[in-house]
Symmetry: C2
Subunit: 325 residues, 2 copies
């Protein structure tokens, strides 16, 4: 293993901390995970990072000098070597991650937004391999995105590019978690989908919905998975929700295609596990919201790397920035 | 003049053909214009290009070898050396412009969309000089755009990037010239503004509008300039139109800021000559449609180079592509 060029990728999730040991060709030699323990604050997250990285080095009988670089994906964004805008990881904001990593490992280190890195992973090892221009929508609890242009990650001036979830798709529309109205995230994210279902179940029209029986009337038991299972079974309320989800996804994605004229748009994230019912719905609506020529050129595809896209992207970042790839 | 590094820029407008002789520092030594005569077809346009370029070479007592490169801006987009998607210049589509220019001048030649080049001009010599990431909205008869990322023109996979005018800002909204509904262009372009005014004048509410008196009842006489003059004078109908224009511009621009996290958004084009009544309206609406952090970072500014931005951008393209700048 000595002659191999190796990098480490780290992904800080809300629940799990992941760490990957990767070759320059993207072969995963080892993938470990442990609880992030974000609720215990910054020092605990940092000591967990330290632990998981040293564990992977030791377990693979490596020396520090065998590692050519470390990449890290985090919620929020990186500015001047610090982390900002990470609402769900208390105390994580303002962490001087570059300085800490230098002190701790003194290896070439690179950090970026986790969703952005998932896009880079898809571009480097997933569905959008080698494509010139692509954007990636991560449709999960919220909606994030990543952008690869001319083969390179595009991060924007402060590392915050790709906030597709907060593009307004319905003026004066549903209230979004960000405080604005009509954001894509208020319709097509897991939270948005469940919240729309709750609202519809309160209307007279849907008092007899199958969905109420399945949850035994408990709105708290609603999940996107349940809603999409019922949609596939033909439940009218759930089909109406899917129609709304697909329409607003198509408005946002269509806008993205008009703006970037990309080769590819990738859809990933937990909500997309519903599969073709969303994908085909989006495809159906797209021509209404997209110029014909760039639409014709653009392929729409599923993300391939699923839950490990973030940590693989962190490895890919290290590979690219150190010139190994 | 012999020792100077010179380039030529050409801009093919619907009405005028412009040609500029420019130094590497962007100094304009000569700017000529003549009618494009687009209605006479491709061969006439080409022979006019030939004439204007040779005129500028002769008049400045240059030899062909003094010219380091030629840039050209055209409606539509360039793919495989040919022009496509240029609806208002009959016969111009499919013109093998690269092959023709090589045969005619045999000088390094580069072409791109005219609005995209106006953005490049603003980045190279105008309001966004030296900025890392910027997007430019050209709000004229229609609405186009240009994108400069990491200091370089971003053109998309087929050279069609930056179609901000056809981003949908109102689902099921006003019909746009492109056939879709609710495009930004259907609200905030010169055509959109005039069309909205016509519709409002047909409603009972505005039978006594000042605007009707000014046009002596002839809807055909409506122009954005007239509408904005009346808006500034306090006419309610015209203020309502401006409110709509600013709101939809803010939705589109806010989306752009969320997507690109840019340093700057530039607004240019004929409609923007109305000035602060639009600019301040957009500023007022932007926080409703944009994440706070990227909005704070982004400057909103007028384009500086006005009607010559396109031809200056063509020169800038030649300067950049030949490595002079």
């Amino acid at each position: 293993m000595k002659s191999e060029q190796l990098v480490i990728g780290i992904d800080i999730g809300g629940t799990n901390l992941k760490c990957v040991l990767m070759t320059a060709k993207g072969k995963i030699l080892n993938l470990r995970r442990m609880p992030t323990e974000a609720e215990k604050g910054r020092l605990k997250i940092l000591s967990n990072i330290k632990e998981i990285v040293w564990d992977i080095i030791r377990e693979n009988k490596l020396k520090k000098k065998d590692i050519k670089g470390i990449g890290l994906g985090t919620p929020g964004y990186i500015l001047h070597g610090k982390i900002f805008g990470s609402p769900n990881t208390p105390g994580w904001n303002n962490t001087p991650i570059y300085a800490w990593m230098k002190k701790e490992f003194n290896l070439p280190f690179f950090a970026a937004n986790d969703v952005t890195l998932a896009a880079l992973a898809e571009h480097t090892f997933g569905s959008a391999r080698g494509v010139q221009n692509m954007v990636c929508y991560a449709v999960g609890t919220g909606i994030g995105g990543g952008i690869v242009l001319n083969g390179e990650l595009f991060e924007g001036t402060q590392g915050m590019a790709g906030e597709f979830g907060h593009v307004v798709v319905e003026p004066n529309g549903r209230l979004c978690g960000c405080g604005a109205r009509g954001c894509l995230e208020a319709y097509a994210s897991a939270n948005g989908i469940v919240s729309m279902a709750r609202n519809l179940l309160r209307t007279k029209r849907y008092q007899t919905s199958d969905l109420l029986k399945k949850t035994r009337g408990a709105h708290a038991a609603l999940t996107p998975k349940l809603i999409y299972d019922r949609a596939k079974a033909g439940d009218k309320l759930c089909l109406e929700i899917n129609n709304t989800v697909c329409k607003y996804l198509a408005i946002a994605i269509g806008g993205t295609i008009n703006i970037f004229n990309p080769d590819m748009v990738i859809l990933g994230g937990g909500v997309m596990s519903a599969g073709s019912i969303i994908m085909e719905g989006v495809r159906k609506f797209l021509p209404e919201y997209t110029l014909a020529q760039p639409l014709k050129k653009c392929r729409l595809a599923y993300a391939k790397l699923s839950e490990n896209a973030g940590v693989i992207g962190s490895g890919a970042l290290a590979l690219r920035k150190t010139g190994l790839l």
